[in-house]
Symmetry: C2
Amino acid sequence: MSSPTHETFAHSIPKGKLVKAFSAFLSPETILFEEEDLRPYECDGLSAYRVLPWMVVLPETVEQVQKILQICHSWDIPVVARGAGTGLSGGALPLKNGVLLSLAKFNRILAIDPISRTARVQPGVRNLAISEAAAPAGLYYAPDPSSQIACTIGGNVAENSGGVHCLKYGLTVHNILGLKMLTMTGEEISLGGETLDSPGYDLLALMTGSEGLLGVIIEVTVRLLPLPERAQVILAAFDNVAKAGAAVGGIISAGIIPGGLEMMDNLAIRAAEDFVHAGYPQEAAAILLCELDGTQAEVSHQIRKVRELLLSHGAIEIRTALDEQERAKLWQGRKAAFPAVGRLAPDYYCMDGTIPRNRLPQVLERINELSQEFNLPVANVFHAGDGNLHPLILYDANRPGELERAEQLGANILELCVAVGGTITGEHGVGIEKINQMCIQFGTAELQQFHALKAAFDPKGLLNPGKAVPTLHRCAEFGAMHVHQGKLPFPELDRF
Amino acid sequence: MSSPTHETFAHSIPKGKLVKAFSAFLSPETILFEEEDLRPYECDGLSAYRVLPWMVVLPETVEQVQKILQICHSWDIPVVARGAGTGLSGGALPLKNGVLLSLAKFNRILAIDPISRTARVQPGVRNLAISEAAAPAGLYYAPDPSSQIACTIGGNVAENSGGVHCLKYGLTVHNILGLKMLTMTGEEISLGGETLDSPGYDLLALMTGSEGLLGVIIEVTVRLLPLPERAQVILAAFDNVAKAGAAVGGIISAGIIPGGLEMMDNLAIRAAEDFVHAGYPQEAAAILLCELDGTQAEVSHQIRKVRELLLSHGAIEIRTALDEQERAKLWQGRKAAFPAVGRLAPDYYCMDGTIPRNRLPQVLERINELSQEFNLPVANVFHAGDGNLHPLILYDANRPGELERAEQLGANILELCVAVGGTITGEHGVGIEKINQMCIQFGTAELQQFHALKAAFDPKGLLNPGKAVPTLHRCAEFGAMHVHQGKLPFPELDRF
């Protein structure tokens, strides 16, 4: 039941030997090994950590991926799969002694079926491209991470991505029906299909969110939803953050499931307003953006009800977007919140924790206290409806000690999430970013079970090693460990 | 990667020794070992197969379950967990040399939280009892298997149960948020919680539908939904089964997601009508029952739209329930369809396969041909909206060869489901009933992965052995195997 130790798998294959082996079935321009070619792959969206990969391959067929995996498996070379590299937790951070397997060339939409309401696509297809292709049939793919223009469905599956609408429409796991994957030995496994249920263990769900540690995704069948007839957004302003938090609970417990229910605090409001002029009330302590979608009649009915609820929870201003243009404007502020906050300080650190909805007011108050204790501003922008927080910690990496303070504050916020019954990640995954916090989230029994499960798929531990699930050894040492700027706090990765 | 062989684990512990060990922490009335006490546990809802268990235990605390598992683990005694015993695929069929672990005494609702919209319950709580307890808060638990008065949430999780409303509201896996389980060694593992997403591998989904092979569920946190303001049902009659099938596709592809969308063919209609007088048109080749739920306005709008769609697909009669009484009456016929069909012949065999929705007309035609080839009537009653078929094969077990013919016809229907891209089970699970068909559903790569996964949880293979996932050996022999009446066609089980 113990996890594979990383030392066991350090290989000593010369680079030239591997290039030669790959050249037998890959064209030269799809094997990258010179520093200038490798540079674009040295990080994903968590750009604070960078490692130049040993080699990058860009296969175009399943057979090529199979051969790559078979060779790496037999020579004990670790493999990191990569979609668009937009992930925020370092899940696609390369290994200095490993192969980075880009699925970028798997970018074809294979089929769209309006009766089964499904799309079958290759893993490198962009999230938004699926909805664009389905639009003529009046359908769309619901999960919409903010990177949806760029991020790929394969990456979405690996990270179990969410988005603004996941309160109503669920995460990736709730919106996919089938997967084809390759194991580390290159064997193809088909999971699910076009039907709702499937016999056997639910490997489809297990693969979703497994962060590239169990297999390589080569095809995805997603569920498509009918485009709502109408969507309308309400903005409500509050003079107190706790009141806004309570209003979220009020809406949900009244039986309304909004398409999106977002919250921003004053710092985030002012940053967004300065940046895109969305028309937000700059004096408000917090605003809620509540989107209602459905049929014409349903939306009208719900708008009336939500307005009443917001007023009864102390909203000081309520505004309903009168047309599509105004609706787009209100959302624009929310969508630009991260870069907008980014203008307030040289650096920011975006956290991603979830809490039970009924703890919102209490947790927001405690984050505010922590912000003062650490003397670092924190802007709060989050998917309030499903309790998914995105505190943005502002700091200046050039000031000695500030990065460490920001990281410590972030860790404290995640620990707070766990303490109130929540989790250390809502939709960004664990990757390398939160691997220490996994030691807080889970006990030894769960971690041992995770490692046993990993070994059932990848006994040699070659797929994306060092990510997502900490070794028991790491957890035993966690607490005594300090993060040093400029040096990766992940010694496991150094071994590859 | 090979599956544990069953021979390895046959134990030779004397019954008296185990009773003595259990008596140290269980009261005498919760240890059953005399034949008369064991008899009620000899089968579940798949009553064609019966095995008298070696021993039954009815623990009341988690600590007791832990001790039972620890003892059985150390003495290599297999364990079968049982909820209410309403399962239809033999998942809770006992072992003649194993312990049947009843969770019946774990029947407490631990918490209901209207803001988080969750209920935390013990595994032996009945499905309907959750909705009853949540009703004062205007909430309910959506999955509604037809056995919901009796079946327990622990069993629902083990089988990933569905129900009439799963088209709109999903299966069990879509409606649970947290689990506590014990491994075969008695270790407690906590999965998920009250939040939408959770880091680490998705063991919550993996446990759901794992049919008691991976662990014992000791607590479940379910998602609650707001009770819809209004629900209304439309009955539509067709003179042709294929037209009814096409109308299902028409409704779905128009972007409507009914709360329920059920279909019955002429044999089922007449049987139900004779039995409960629901007012069904007895000459129709098929009827659809389409339930629409939501707000007042939304339901009115959808009813208009669905009526138009039904007419354009050739419905010869449409009736909308005018009041709650009429609605209940229309559903009563559907809910009584199984026992009603059961009155037409001495025996019936209920199948449970799913197909992609767009294959409905074609598959129904082929089932009709198969029915004629095998000279056995088949009544079709099913969740049309999600392509979940329940063909009921009528036969007389007293006529030589008819049971075998019914089983072969059933197997052919399931193989047909797989051939069109569907699956061998929609909501009843594999159990022992469909273990051979798993060899058709999955290839060697998938089955090997299933066995590796099982070994990661239960290396000795003591939890519910012989069920759900066939050995590669069984699949190799499948095809040459014949079923003999009166003798279990599952030699693996005989070894326990």
